[in-house]
Symmetry: C2
Subunit: 667 residues, 2 copies
Amino acid sequence: MRFTATLSGVLSFLEALKRVLVGRPEISGRFRPAPMRRRFALPALSTNALSSLAYAPDEILVTLSLAGVSAIRLGPWVGLGVMAVLMVLVLCYRLAVRAYPTGKGDYQIASENLGPRAGVVVGAALLVDLTLTVAVSMSAAAHYVAAAIPALAGREGWIAAIGVALLVVANLRGSGRSNVARALPTVLFVGVLGLLLAIGAVLALTGHLGQAPSADFAVAPAAGHEEGATGFVGFLLVLRAFSTGSAALTGVESPISGVTQLAKPQARTAGWVLLWLGVIATVLTLGTLFLAREAGVKLADSPGSQLSVDGHPVTGYTQAPVLAQLTQAVLGAGWPVWVLGIVTVIMLLSAGMVGFSSFPRLAYHLASDGYLPRQLRTQGDRLGYSNGILVLGIAALVMVLATGAHLGVLVQLYVVGVFVSFALSQLGMVRHFTLRLRSSAQRRVRGALRRKRALSAIGALLSALVLVVVLVTRVTHGAWIAVAAVVLLSLGMLSIRRHYDQVDAELAIDDITSVTALPSRVHAIVLVSTLRKPLLRALAFARGARPQRLEAVMVDVDRDKTQRTVSAWQRWGIPVPLTVLAAPYRELSGPLLEHIRQARADRPRDLVVVYIPEYVVGRWWEQLVHNQTGLRLRARLHYEPGVVVASVPWQLASTKAPHPATPEPPA
Amino acid sequence: MRFTATLSGVLSFLEALKRVLVGRPEISGRFRPAPMRRRFALPALSTNALSSLAYAPDEILVTLSLAGVSAIRLGPWVGLGVMAVLMVLVLCYRLAVRAYPTGKGDYQIASENLGPRAGVVVGAALLVDLTLTVAVSMSAAAHYVAAAIPALAGREGWIAAIGVALLVVANLRGSGRSNVARALPTVLFVGVLGLLLAIGAVLALTGHLGQAPSADFAVAPAAGHEEGATGFVGFLLVLRAFSTGSAALTGVESPISGVTQLAKPQARTAGWVLLWLGVIATVLTLGTLFLAREAGVKLADSPGSQLSVDGHPVTGYTQAPVLAQLTQAVLGAGWPVWVLGIVTVIMLLSAGMVGFSSFPRLAYHLASDGYLPRQLRTQGDRLGYSNGILVLGIAALVMVLATGAHLGVLVQLYVVGVFVSFALSQLGMVRHFTLRLRSSAQRRVRGALRRKRALSAIGALLSALVLVVVLVTRVTHGAWIAVAAVVLLSLGMLSIRRHYDQVDAELAIDDITSVTALPSRVHAIVLVSTLRKPLLRALAFARGARPQRLEAVMVDVDRDKTQRTVSAWQRWGIPVPLTVLAAPYRELSGPLLEHIRQARADRPRDLVVVYIPEYVVGRWWEQLVHNQTGLRLRARLHYEPGVVVASVPWQLASTKAPHPATPEPPA
C-alpha cells in the first residue's frame, strides 16, 4: 500500500479547489464600479433595510400572539411606532450626510466626535450587527424555503448554514458587485410586494379580500398573559413587540456608508435615497401589517399549543410567514405564493451580500486604525478582503447553527447592535453641531445649527430609548449575549490597539546607529543529529558562509548513536570540530541553550548562527514519522537574543514525485 | 484589560503541572530493578493471565445464558476446554524459552523464523492486544466499582476512563516498577480467591454451601436458542462461550517476554513460572466455575428481560460479577464482598500496569526496527517511553469510551490479537525446530527435536483453531474490528519501514566529496516588510556574516507602504541596496521565489541565504495579531533547493515581562 497523497499534492489540490470556488486571481486595482445614479442607488442601498419586511412583521405578530387574538390586532399600531422612529432616523441621517458630504459611517462619526473609545464601541456594535444581518437574513430565507418544501421543516439551521456558505463563496469570488446585481433583487421584491399590497388594498376596500389560511384559528394566550394586552404586563408585551419590530430599522444607515459609491453630487443623492427609503419602508411595512389584520393572519409563538379551531387544537399545520399568508389571501394559493417566496429568498440573499460587503470593509478600516489584526487588511485573489469574509462567514455559521436559525432569538441580538451604533453616532452628531455652533457667529446659521442639533438629540434619545426597551424587555431572552459580545469585542479591540502601539513604540527607529552596529564575529554552530547527507550539506553551507568560528554540536541523547557518529566523523575525515554535549536528562534543548549562552557570555559581541538540517518530505504522513526536533528547537532558540536560526532544508525525493516534468535545478 | 497569560507563562504552567503529575526528571540509567527470583517472578509475571479470573468466567456464563439455565450448567466444561488449551500453550512456551534462553517475545520469534512480515503482523496483533489488556482490565474494574456503588451504575465507561488516566500518570511517573509492587496484587488476589474457593469446596462437600443471590432465578433463552444447548445452534453457542473464555489465556506469554528481568538461570526460572502459572490458573478457573454451578450462580446477557422468579420478571436487581456472588454464597454478604472487590480492582489495575509496561517496550523495539515512528524510542523524564505510554493511553481511552466499557465487545476484540500472535509464534517455533533438525545429526537429539516440533505444531494448530472459532462465531459481533486493526496496523508499519529504508538509501553518504563541495559565493537576501528595528537587526546580522552579495528585497504588496519604506530607506541612508519586486496579485511568495530562482539560474553555484526578521511575542494572543507571513514563507522556501532560511528573531518586551528578575543579556 502506498499513500500517493503528498503534501505538495494536497497543496495543489487545495489550490485547484480554490481556483474552482474562487476563480482566477485578479490584478490589483482592476475592479472599479461605475458611480451609482439615483435609480440604482435607491434599490442597491435599501436592500438591507427593506429585506426586513420578510421577517419583521412576523416577529411583531408572534410576540403579540403571546397575549392572544386581541393583541395580534395591535400589529399595525406597533408598526406605526417603529416607522415613526424610522422617519426620525432618516431625517437625522440626512443631516449627517450633509454635514459629512464625503461620507462617514457611524464608526467614523462617533470616533471623530466622541473620541476613539466611542468609535470602538460603535465599531464592535456594527460588526456584531453585520454578522447578524447575515445570520438573520439566511435564517429568514431558510424559513421561507422550509415553508415551501415541508420535507425540510425542522432543518432550518442547516439550510441557513448552506446559505451562509454560498454567500462566502460568492464573495470570495467577488460576485454580485455590479450595480445591476445589487439593485435588481430589491426592485423585484418591492415590485412584487407593492403589487400584492395594491391589489389587496383594492380588494379590501371593495370587500372582496380572501381569508388567510390562519384566519379561523383562535389563539390562546400564553401563561401570564391571560388578560390580553392590558395592564402593565400587556404594556410590556407591546414594548417587546416594538423592540422586536425595530429589526426593520437595520440598514437605514447604508446610504451613508455607501456615499462614495454614488454619482455626484453624492450628499444630495444620499439624502434623496434616504428619504425614499424611509417612505417605501413605511408604506410597505404598514401596508403589510394592516392587510394582514384585514385578512385575519394569525401567528403564534408555539403553534402546536396555542392555536385551535372550534376549541380543538390544530394539528398538521405548518405556520407560513405573513407575506406568504397575505399572498394566499389576495391571489390564492399555488404559483403566486411560489413567486413571492422565490423573490423574497433572492432579496434575503441580496441582504446577506450587503453584510458580506460591509463587514470586511468595516474590518479593513478598524484594522487600518490598529483595532483589529492586520490580516484583515489583506485583499484576496478577487480583490475582496478575504480574511474578513471568512471571519464573518464563520461567525454567521456559528450563529445560525447554534440557534437552529431561530429568528426570535437572532432578532433580539440584532436590535442591540443597531441601536448602540445609532445612539452613539447621533450623539456624535449632537457634539458635531455643538462644536460648529461655537465657531459660528452668523445668526441665521446658528439657528439652523440649533435646529439640527435638536433633531440629532431627538434621534439619539429615541435610539437610546429603544435600546433601553430592548434591554428591559429582552435582556433575559438572549439580548445579553449581544451586549456581552459588544463589550468583549470593544475590550479586545482596545487591547489589540494598545499592543500595536506598544510594539510601534518599541520598534520605531529613533537612532539608526544603535541597531545597525555590526556583530564583530560570527560563531556558527551546526546541529548534528545523524551523520547523513543533509548534515553534510548544512556543514558545507555553514563553511561556505565563512564564519570566524565553526563547530558541529551533538547532544548526547543516545549513547550508542553518539559513539557511532563520532567514529564515523573521524572515518570520513570531516574538517569541522565536533563538540559533544552531555544530556543527562535525554533532552536536546537544555544543553544546547547552555552551550550557546556560555559562548555568548564569553564573547557578547559575537553573532551565533545555529544551522539546523531539516528534512522536507513530500507526503503528509511522512512528517509524522520524523522527529519534530528541529521545529521545537527553533521555537526555543527564538527566545534567545543574538541567535539566528538557519534552516538548511533537504528536499527528500518524495517532494519531487508529483512533478516529474520539473527538471531538478543543479545543486 | 490586560491578558497576563503569556506564552512562556503557559509553558511554565504546563511544565509545573508536568512536574506535579510526573515528578522530577531522572538521570539516564538510574533505574535498574533487581533480578526477580522465583517467588517474585511467579506473581509478577502472571498478573495479566490471572487477572482474567475477574471477568472470563462471567463472560463464559453470560454467553451460555443465551440458551437458558441448562446451558449455564455447562460452564465448568467450557472452562475445562479453555484450560486444556492453556496447558498446551504453557508446554509450548516452555519449549520456546528453552530454545531462546536469552528471552525472545512472540514478535522476535516470528520475525526470526518466519520473516519480517510475519513479525510485523505479530507486532501489530500484540499492540492491539496490549491496548485491549488495558481497556478490558479497566472496564472489568469499572464493573466491580459500579456493582459496589449502585449510584455509579451506567457510568462504567467514565469510571474505566478515569482508571486509564490514572495508569497513564502512574506510568509517566515511573511508579510501580519495584518487584514488590508488581508481585503484591497477585499474591493478595490469589490468596483471597484461593481461600474463598477452599472454604467453598469444604462447605460444598459437607453440604453447607450457601446460595448465590441469583440462585432462584430462571433464565429465559434468547430468541433462536429456545432449544437450549443442543443441536448445531447449541454447539455454536458452546464454541462461542469457549472463544470468549479464551480471554483467560492472554498474558500466558508474559514470562517469556520478561525473561531478562529474571534471576539466573533465567530460562529455568521462566519455565518454572510458566508451569505454575498454568497450574494456578487452571485450579482457580475450574474451581470458580464448579463452585459457581454449585452455588447456583446465574448470569444473563440482558438481566432485565431474561431473568424471572416464579414466572415474574426480576426488577431492581443489579447483576453482580461471579466472584462477588460466590463470596456471598460462601462467606455471606457484607464485608467479605467488599474485601474481594477491592482486591480484585487492585489486581485489575496491576494488570493494566502490565499493559503499560509491555506496550511501550514493544513499541520501542518496533520503532528501533523502523516499523514505528522514531519518537516512540524517546525516554521521558522518568525513564519510561513516554510517547508509547501516551499512545496506549489514548487508544485505551477511545476503546473504553466508545464501547461504554462493554466487556462482551472488548473481550471479542481481545481474543483475536492474542491468538494471531500465539499461532504465528508457535509456527515460528515449528520452523525453528525444523531448521535445527536439519543441522543436527545425533539420533537422540533428533528424536527430542521431533517431539518438540510436534508439540509446537499442536500449539500452533490449536491457536489457529481457536482463532477460527472466534472468527466464525464472533466476526459479526465486533471481532472484525480487531482483524481490521491488525491488518491496517501491519500495513502501516510496513510502509513506515519502507519510507525509512528509502530515506536511508537516499541520505546515506556514499561519496563524501559530492556533498561537501562548498558553495562558491553567498548571496544574502534580507526580506523587508516594515522598516523597523527588527529589520535593521536582520540587516546588521546579514552584513556581519559578510556575504559576497547582499540585497534587501521588498515585495510591493501595498503601494503606499512600499513608497513610505523606499523614502525612509533613503532618508536613513541604509547602506544596503533595496530591490522592490512587483506583486500584481498582492501575494508575497510568488515574486520572491521567482527572484530567487532567477538568481540561482544566473549563478548556480551560489548559496542563497534568505534572512527573515521575525517578531517573538510573549502573549499567546499577540501571535494572532501579527501576520504569519514569515512562517508561511519559510514553509514555501523549504521546497527550494540551495536556499537557506535564516530567521532573525526580535524578542518583544512582552517576552520578558514574566521574568523581571532575569537580567537582559547584552545585545
